[in-house]
């Protein structure tokens, strides 16, 4: 088991290194002068100087790469050309909000999706199946920025049930308030996060529903299910005790893999809902061509992805005894 863990760790490190190198390669091997590509031909001399120095373009490629890696290892992801603050600080300040939104989206919609998937599988090829599939497909087929604005127009403007933008109190404060018997902050928190989480989560839901459905159908064909049924277990029982746990492993693995697209989806969702997370910063930076922030954001997301998947692997280890025994 230690060997397994070590291998996974090494794998994670390699992937992070690979992502960093890929980003470096894209910038430095793209046709044309990287400085010109980023700030345009007609930037002032000062701007060019700033960019050249910041990217290390006056150094030979080999040194540039080493300097880049060295900086990354020491935690220096550059300074924003626009805001003047270190990118890591800027991103770190906003990261909790993005994580919060992403977690809520995942934690609410993944289980919902699993439920829909189970329904779909159990009542295969009935209207329930088609209905669930339709709901799921809806999530993956609509551009999420359209969906976001429509939700705002419906729930905030027409019905006035929910606020139109922004975030409520921090979840930590809201939970703390609960202990003093004050439910208002928690309700406020929930009201603000519902719409953005729904926008973000529908995409995930679509994928997880299909996955669950397919996986359950797969498992239902397996020999051990037949054995269990032969032993007298009810269909529901089989699904609950045997099939579902196995499928959950697939789901958890899958959600881990989809962290990337969730974070990507957060970029748009945060802009629509004025949610103060990392995604919004990315959008502003892209518009302003604030390259250090863009680069840092991509690397940070990659790091989070690898980290989450490492966690998933550990959970996997705990769930699936076969691996533990290797």
């Amino acid at each position: 088991m230690a060997a397994y863990l070590l291998r996974r760790l090494l794998h994670a490190v390699i992937v992070i290194w690979g992502a960093a190198t890929l980003v470096f390669a894209i910038l430095n091997f793209a046709p044309g002068d990287p400085a010109v590509n980023l700030v345009g031909e007609n930037a002032t001399e000062e701007q060019f100087a700033l960019v050249r120095h910041s990217l290390g373009l006056d150094l030979p490629m080999y040194e540039r790469y080493l300097r880049y890696l060295g900086n990354l290892l020491s935690g220096d992801l550059g300074t924003s050309w626009f805001v003047g603050q270190p990118t890591l600080d800027m991103l770190a300040e906003r990261l909790p909000d993005t994580i919060e939104l992403t977690l809520v989206a995942a934690l609410i919609f993944a289980p919902l999706a699993v439920l829909l998937g189970v329904i779909s599988a159990v009542w295969r090829r009935t209207p329930l199946d088609y209905g669930s599939s339709f709901v799921a497909l809806f999530g993956v087929s609509t551009p999420n920025f359209w969906l976001g604005v429509m939700l705002i127009l419906l729930f905030a403007v027409e019905l006035r049930w929910l606020p139109s933008m922004g975030r409520g109190p921090m979840i930590t404060d809201a939970v703390a308030a609960l202990f003093t018997g004050d439910t208002a902050p928690l309700i406020d928190w929930a009201r603000h996060i519902v719409l953005p989480a729904a926008t973000l989560g529908t995409f995930l839901m679509a994928l997880v529903t299909r996955l669950t459905r397919t996986d359950i159908l797969e498992n239902l064909r397996r020999p051990y299910v037949k054995v269990a049924r032969a032993k007298g277990m009810s269909r529901g029982g089989v699904i609950l005790h045997h099939v579902l746990p196995n499928s959950l492993i697939s789901v958890v693995t899958f959600v881990g893999l989809e962290v990337g697209s969730l974070l990507g989806g957060a970029v748009v969702t945060e802009t629509i809902f004025a949610w103060p997370g990392m995604g919004r910063l990315m959008v502003e930076s892209i518009e302003r061509r604030d390259y250090p922030v863009i680069q840092a954001g991509v690397l940070l997301v990659s790091f989070i992805f690898v980290f989450v998947n490492l966690l998933v692997d550990l959970v996997y280890l705990w769930l699936d005894p076969r691996i533990r025994l290797k």
């Binding site: 700030v39 345009g40 031909e41 007609n42 930037a43 002032t44 701007q47 626009f82 805001v83 003047g84 603050q85 800027m90 300040e93 906003r94 604005v149 705002i152 127009l153 905030a156 403007v157 006035r160 606020p163 139109s164 933008m165 922004g166 409520g168 406020d188 603000h192 802009t271 629509i272 809902f273 004025a274 103060p276 919004r280 910063l281 959008v283 502003e284 518009e287 302003r288 061509r289």
Partner: protein, 521 residues
Amino acid sequence: MTDKTKRPLSPSRRDVLKYGAATGAMATAYGLPGLSARRAGAAAKEFDEFKVAFWSGTPNLDPEQQNIRTCLIAEKWLFDPLVWRDKDTNAPMPYLAEDFSFIGNNTWRFHIREGGKFHNGETLDAHAVKFSLDRRTAEATGSPFRKSFSSVIEGKVIDQYTFDFVCNSPFPMLPAYMPTFYIMPPGYYGSTPKQELALKPVGSGPFRLLEFKPDDILRVERNDDYWGQMPMIKRVTAPVIQEDATRVASLLAGDLHIAPRPVIEDFDRINENAGTKVSTSIGNRIVLAGLNYDMEPMNDRRVRQALNYAVDAALLNEVYLKGTGEVMASALPSTVPGFHPGLTPYGYDPDKARALLKEAGYANGFETTIEVNPGWLIAGTAVTEAIANFLKEVGIKAELQVRDAGTLASRITSRKAGPIYMLSWGVNSTFDADSYIGSLLDEGAFSCNRMPEIGKLVEAGRQTADQNERVEIYRKACEIAHEEAPWIFMYLQPNTYGVTTNHDWTARPDEMIPLYYVKSV
């Protein structure tokens, strides 16, 4: 979130006295009529929380590190300038300076009011003004306003509350530049690192900083020691909402008091909605399609005039601005002294356009490019596409190129943009002709044309302090510009806002959103 404006606080007796005293003092200082009568009305409701949305990011609140409009608006809440603009007449009015005048010898003298204090306790006097001026003009600061103050040789402290701007010329534009010259406390700004100054502004303004998350949200609270008119607002919350539809939705849902720059198509909806309405005012921002003289065939006056006849600016104004803009005949809008009322805008005459093109040798039209940054003008993409369409009808095939702000700006300043490029010009609301003509024509920084006669007029305009003389000079410039057609003249853009009907703030010509005089109704 609960809408606190619907349950206003009833003021205590002490508050009434405090406000009453403040307005009384202001009445004597400003000589504004009727304020003592309003003392009774000061018992009116105040806002617990007033919400204004920014339509684009606010990265930095140091007045000398950027000149972004949203930041300028926010800074006005926290800082005070020497001179401000009256909300109804738009004329310069005394603010931190009780009075100011040109005393000859290229010198402007300002008398600063006594008793003012900064949020951190430092005294507000001529020394603070000197510090602020030095900080602005120092090369090390890198202020984007530095160039506009290049005519100022030095600032002299005459006594604790008298300050002189000694210039190398009459510098008649100085009062016009004052509203964006915020006064800073020397102790704090002299000793704090630049990065922190961007995040933690300290001024003397009607509000003080509560919380600032760059590009996200700004919260300020009332400065209860304010020397001037005490705001009827306890706290201001200013989130950044870039998404147009969300901003309007927030206004309609009751989550905002002021939503700037609503999409024109939403005007009807905002007006029909109970509790909200649209407030517009024409102001300082002109929209034009610049023509680059260095790129054929824009060097031919006939072609340039043809373009003006081909594009129906009045229709564009009707359609995309719902008629709230003002079509322009020449380089200056009607809100700026120097405007020539006798000039008529180029009308819509595609036949004349084609005739001129034929005369210039382009009977079959030609191909060209229009560069645009859509965020620079209202309905930027739509208007540019419409212009391209007009040009198509006279045989000119125009390709659109969307650029980001930084790139297009540097292309214009290096005369590489075009042959046609869209530009809007608001100049930090100086309302001074020199800021338009001086920068956009001939050798100006944002000019891609050449008109030596105008260059001479600009120089003349800078050398005299007589405002009447200047008006004559700029009128002449407008005449020449109209004939020469260095741009496709378009219109003066309105400043548009969606507002709730429970307060009395209305759109100002200078694009600013000061909140110290807002009252609930």
